[in-house]
């Protein structure tokens, strides 16, 4: 043990003789400044963001995705984007997919939940197909639960809490896209 103490003392004395206290503070300061900057990195902000629902902001989790078309307004990575009015799941825009495409290595279910949403740009209702993307890893990120038109489970064809990963190789749910099928005629 005495030999170990002697060796440690020798190493530390050698280090002290080669460095000044000022350089030590500069190194420590660099570490502290770097630590303060860490929350600015996207990965840190994603960890803070976690899942959210019911139209809350998704800012800071994903880079915004806009259509660039004033007739299709809103950020497609946010739960309050107009097409998501009847969605119940996670947004594929946050998983490397988009509002109409599945993330890589996932498969779009041909069986869908269909609802209608009002486009704020023209105040018209659009028929939206919510296709689940299946077979990937569900991180629980960008959760979004809006239930316009949702019906109880006794009517499974009109219930959006069901995972629609049928007809796909994997029944593992990943996320949901929102595809416009057409404009809806106003019901009298």
């Amino acid at each position: 043990m005495a030999q170990f103490d002697h060796l440690a003392e020798k190493v530390l004395r050698g280090f002290a003789s080669r460095t000044s206290r000022r350089s030590l503070f500069s190194v420590l300061g660099g570490f502290l400044a770097g630590a303060a900057a860490l929350p600015l990195l996207p990965v840190a902000r994603a960890a803070e963001g976690g899942g959210r629902s019911d139209g809350e902001s998704n800012s800071g989790i994903e880079a915004p995705q806009f259509s660039g078309n004033p007739q299709d307004p809103g950020d497609r990575t946010k739960c309050d984007y107009w097409r998501y009015c009847a969605i119940d799941g996670s947004l594929c825009s946050c998983y490397g997919g988009s509002v109409i495409t599945c993330p890589p290595d996932t498969e779009m279910s041909p069986i869908t939940w269909i609802g209608t949403c009002r486009n704020p740009a023209d105040e018209r209702n659009y028929i939206i197909s919510y296709n689940d993307c299946c077979g990937g890893v569900a991180w629980g990120r960008c959760a979004c639960q809006n239930n316009r038109g949702d019906r109880p489970l006794v009517r499974p064809q009109t219930n959006n809490e069901i995972t629609w990963c049928f007809g796909t190789k994997s029944q593992s749910y990943t996320c949901t896209v929102a595809i416009i099928l057409g404009t809806a005629i106003e019901q009298k």
Partner: protein
């Protein structure tokens, strides 16, 4: 990119040319189909194994055989639909034309709201699958329309 409604509205095809028999408004029929049936039967009517039988190239065969018309009004997806009798009759008539006009007899009488209303009071349950197979076999044995 905004998806143009006209470009993705299959109802547009339904409105072209003569309106199918028993369909007052093809666009309304398409919408009711899309909102209530398409999710499981798929946009092209090919269906989903185990849950929603295929309609494409098949569904009009039922109206050619005895008991088939009743089957269409009593099959679970039709009988338990939230649509009104009138809208439901229109959708069934539209569906026969849209997915299987080749097998639709020239003598076909469209479903009415009253007929659908009466049939749907006796929804089929587990026996639907066997009845479907029997009716399609009879239709195929009877030859082309």
């Amino acid at each position: 990119m905004m998806h143009g409604a006209a470009a993705q509205t299959p109802g547009g095809a339904a409105t072209a040319g003569a309106a199918p028999a028993g369909v007052g408004d093809a666009r309304r029929a398409w919408q009711n189909w899309t909102m209530n049936c398409q999710g499981c039967h798929r946009v092209d009517g090919t269906g989903s194994a185990g849950t929603a039988p295929g309609l494409a190239g098949t569904v009009a065969k039922f109206v050619r055989v005895s008991g088939g018309r009743e089957y269409l009004g009593r099959v679970p997806g039709v009988a338990t639909s939230p649509l009104s009798n009138a809208d439901l009759a229109e959708v069934v008539n539209w569906m026969l034309w849209r997915f299987d006009k080749e097998h639709l007899p020239s003598t076909f009488q469209p479903f009415t709201a009253a007929e659908i209303g009466q049939l749907r009071t006796q929804p089929l349950r587990l026996e639907a699958s066997q009845m479907r197979n029997d009716l399609l076999r009879k239709a195929d044995e009877s030859g082309p329309p």
